[in-house]
Structures are given as C-alpha cells and as structure tokens.
Amino acid sequence: MAEQEQRRPSAPRTDEVEVEDEVSGDSGKELKADLDDLLDEIDDVLETNAEEFVKNYVQKGGE
C-alpha cells in the first residue's frame, strides 16, 4: 500500500477514549453482572442434551 503513514485518516477519538477509561471500573462490574444474568438465562433455554443435539445437527451443503 502506498499510504502506510496514514492509518486513521480522521482524528482518533482520544477524548472519548479517556472518558471510557474513567467509567470502565463501574461499567466493568455492570457488564459482568449482565453476563451472569445472561448465562443464567442461557442455562434455562439451552438444549437439554447438548451432545445429542449437536450430533444430530447435519445440513446438506448449499451454495
């Protein structure tokens, strides 16, 4: 590529990155709590016999 010097033609959003760093502590915990809730939900809806389900999931090749 001729233009190796310019990787981000528009100004990088440095201000926004800083703000994110500040709040990442709290939002990190929120994200984790969300993930735990999500994993709880998934345990409820996941196929009961995963091995059998996966084994039986066969498709014909398409385009």
Partner: protein
C-alpha cells in the same frame, strides 16, 4: 460516474425437522415455504426460470463441463408481495431480499426475511403432528464440514474490466472479515483440531479454496465469476458475493453491505486501492479468520507485510477521498454515506483499541464473551459439546430459544419498517412494480423473476413485461398507474405493451 449500487442479500437457512424419523431437508424446506405461502399469501405465484444462466462466467468463457449450478426447476419457488424470492435451494429454504437502493433499506429487508422465516416456522409447526417441529438457523455451517451461504449482490458498471474488480475487491473481502464475521467454534478445514483453532472470526473461511471461479458449492472462490446480471447486460454487471457470513447483528449486515457498496462504487470510479494484493489470498483469508487477536501480518505481492486492519484503513482512506470527489449519491445519499463512514471508522478504531466494546454489535465478539463466560462458569474445554450447542443456538430463529436476540445486539432497522417490509416492496427499485403487481393482480400473473413478469390477461399468448432496468418501475414511476388500474389488462394497455 459509478452506477447506483442497487443491492440485495440472499440467505440459505439451516433447517431441522425435529422428531421426524427420516431426515429429508428438501421436503422440510418445501413444507416451511408452503406453510408461509398458503398461510399468508392470497395466491402463490411461481418463479420464471427463462433467464437463469448461472453457468455464464464473467471471465468471458462458458465452461459447460464445469460444475455450474444446476437449476432445480421442480422445487418450491415463490415470489412474495414485498418483491422477495422465497424458495428451496440445495436442500435449504432460501430467501432473497428484493432489490434495494441502500444498505439501511437492505438491512431492514433482511430483518423482514428473518420475520418471514419465523412466521413460516410457526405456521408449519401448527400443521405438524404433536411433538414434531421445524427449526430454522441463520448460519452457514453444521460444524461437520457442510456449508451454505449468505450471498450479497451488487450492481456495478459493465464497462469496468472484471480483472480490476478481482484485484481490488479481493483484499477488501479478505480483510472485512474482522468486522463481518459471525464467529465459529473450531475449524472445518482438513487437519485442524479444536486445539489448533478453538474459535475463529468467520463461519465461511474454512470453505474457500480458490481465488476466482464459477463454483458455489465446492472449491468455493473468494471472488465468484457468475455473470447473470438479470438486467441490461450492456450497462450492468451483478457482482455475486459468496464469501460473507450470515449475521445476526444488524450493525454487521448494515456495515458489510454499505462498505462493500462504497468500495464497489470506488472501483467503478477507478479510485480504489490497487496495491493491497495479498501474495496467498486463500491462505490469508483463513489466517485472518483464525487470528482472533487481530495481530497477524500477511505478505502482499509488493513485499510489504500488513494486518487486516491496515488494509481496511487503506480502503477507508480511499473512500474518504472518493466521497470528497463524488459524494455518496450512488450508495443512497449523504446521510447514509456519512453514517456508514462514521460507523466503519468507529468499528475499526474499536477493533484496534478495545474489541470487547463491540460485544453488543459484532457477532464473533458477542459469541467470544458468551463462550468464555460459559466455559469459565462450567469449567469446560473449547471442544465441549455444550459450547458447540451454544454456537448453533446463537443462530436459532425461534424467538424463545435463539441466543442472539437475547444478548441485546444493537439495532439498525426500525420495527415498524420491518413489519412493512414483510409485505410491501421497497419503493425505489423495480421490486416495487413486481411486489405491487403481485399484491394487486395475483390472479393475472403467471410467473415472475428478477427482470420480467408474465401476465395472463385472458388473451393468447401470455404477455411478458421486461424489467431490465433495476431503477425503473419504482413508486415514483408507477404508483399512480398501479393505483388507477383495476386489472392487469388495463395496466398492460396503459404501459403500451
């Protein structure tokens, strides 16, 4: 001046008939489409195969001995009132959106396609015996080496030499995987185990073996040479793109369609980068997919080593220059163009600096977070069938079972517009004429396809109306006419055919 980037997306869905003794995916696919057509449409209108020539190759020769796609004319094949085509293709139900004029509209119609499949499942399951059900997945692989596609179609200028398209779109296809991939556990490439590739960025990379070619079902090429424009072939080419994944994330569908449209417009205008050619494209395609840390560099033919993100930035920079000169008209206007550029920039920056910030908008990153969390909670290895089950259920379209819709992925489409898109065609392309005629005169249409409709107005012979211009037959052109004509005979008379 570039040709307007009319575009569409067609998805082959995975299908399961649960609790059925024998597995017959063709019958299951037919059942699900028939359930929708009989349940929701006033009358079924079939597909007209007259102009299908999937064996014609853009490189200028017809390989009649090559394994060109067969046309299975006896299988279920319907046209819907939103201008879409809903049919059985190679043992999968497939839905092609109608022709759209921008990536936002196409994303809306893709979401409407999901709704149609969901309603089809529900209808079909009402008709099946107790305990049996049909289940649809929007994915590209069964994890066992069988793959099926999500194809994009873009209108490009016929005057552009096909060689230029190949050279300049291929690096873009290889590198766009970083924000287009739907993620997959393991690898289906021969010889690779879960230890080698526990998780990768795309579903499809494993199945691509050639750089350029006509095949779609084996020895898949990164750039497909099918030359079936379904339009005025002197002016237009339709680029048939088979290398993408089916995405559950709307942001990905939107960005995939929109950035590719922009790059193809640049190619039309001869402003796309032409020195990003990878030395070993097929190998690089797979390496990019396996490289979930986005750290690898790959060799170009000019000797430089670059990352996938480096290549994306090169295309982004070129797009800024192109847009400064030409504006965004051919990809749907300034608002959409600027939105696409801004989101493209945002995603590339995030992939470089904080990929986990994209768990709400990129399927492979959402999956990685989910699977890492699940692994850690249940102390599982990457090869555990529970994770493989998660990897399938992510793509399950059943509203009560599907995982993608539970995660809270960012939306691009608006529900009221999706609802409208299930039944009504886009106003801005020939799909409008097709869809409205089907809704207005269902008993007088014998067959339809992308570039014509066949009417039966009682007289002999049947009347074929050609629709070779994708941007004619729009609401602006024909809405009043259609409103005023009570039957097809009157319509044809006033069209002068």
């Amino acid at each position: 001046m570039a040709v307007h980037k009319v575009l569409g997306i067609e998805t082959e869905f995975g299908i399961l008939h649960r609790n059925d003794g024998e597995s017959n995916p063709v019958a299951a696919s037919s059942m699900i489409i028939n359930a929708y057509v009989n349940g929701f449409l006033e009358r079924r209108v079939g597909w007209d195969f007259e102009d299908e020539h999937p064996g014609v190759d853009a490189r200028g020769f017809n390989e009649f001995d090559a394994l060109a796609p067969e046309i299975e004319t006896h299988l279920v094949n319907a046209v819907l009132t939103n201008g879409a085509r809903y049919y059985v293709d190679h043992a999968h139900p497939e839905l092609s959106t109608p022709e759209c004029t921008d990536a936002l509209q196409c994303t809306t119609y893709d979401r409407a396609a999901e709704e149609i499949l969901i309603r089809s499942m529900e209808k079909a399951n009402e008709l099946l015996p107790e305990g049996e059900e049909l289940v649809i997945h929007k994915n590209n692989s069964d994890g066992k080496g069988n793959s099926y596609g999500c194809h994009e179609n873009y209108l490009v200028d016929r005057a552009v030499p096909f060689g230029r398209i190949v050279q300049q779109i291929m690096p873009f296809f290889i590198s766009r995987q970083v924000f287009c991939g739907a993620g997959k556990i393991g690898s289906e490439a021969p010889g690779l185990t879960h230890a080698d590739v526990p998780f990768q960025i795309t579903q499809r990379a494993d199945f691509f073996e050639e750089e350029v070619g006509l095949e779609t079902t084996l020895k898949r090429p990164i750039v497909n040479t099918r030359d079936e424009p379904h339009a005025d072939s002197k002016k237009y080419r339709r680029l048939h793109v088979i290398v993408g994944d089916a995405n559950m994330s709307e942001l990905q569908t939107y960005l995939k369609l929109g950035t590719t449209a922009i790059v193809l417009a640049m190619i039309d205008d001869d402003m796309a980068p032409d020195d990003c050619v990878f030395e070993t494209p097929v190998q690089t395609l797979r390496q990019v997919s396996y490289d979930i840390d986005l750290a690898m560099v790959h060799r170009l033919v000019n000797g430089q080593k670059v990352s996938a993100l480096d290549v994306q930035w090169a295309y982004y920079a070129a797009a800024e220059k192109w847009a400064d000169r030409h504006g965004f008209e051919v990809v749907g206007g300034e608002a959409i163009g600027k939105d696409l550029m801004s989101r493209w920039n945002e995603v590339l920056v995030a992939l470089e600096s904080d990929p986990d910030s994209l768990t709400d908008s990129i399927d492979w990153i959402a999956k990685r977070r989910l699977y890492e969390g699940y692994r850690s909670r249940h102390d599982l290895d990457w090869s555990d069938p529970k994770l493989a089950a998660l990897d399938l259920q992510y793509h399950d379209l059943r509203p009560d079972k599907g995982l993608a819709r539970r995660i809270g992925l960012k939306r691009i489409s608006i529900d009221s517009e999706v609802e409208a898109a299930v039944d009504s065609p886009p106003p801005s392309t020939r799909a409008y004429f097709r869809g409205r005629c089907l809704e207005r005169y269902p008993d007088e249409i014998v067959a339809a396809n992308w570039d014509s409709m066949v009417f039966d107005v009682g007289s002999d012979p049947l009347r074929r109306v050609p629709m070779l211009e994708p941007l004619r037959g729009t609401a602006a052109h024909v809405a009043n006419l259609l409103d005023e004509c009570d039957n097809a005979a009157e319509l044809l008379r006033r069209l002068g055919t």
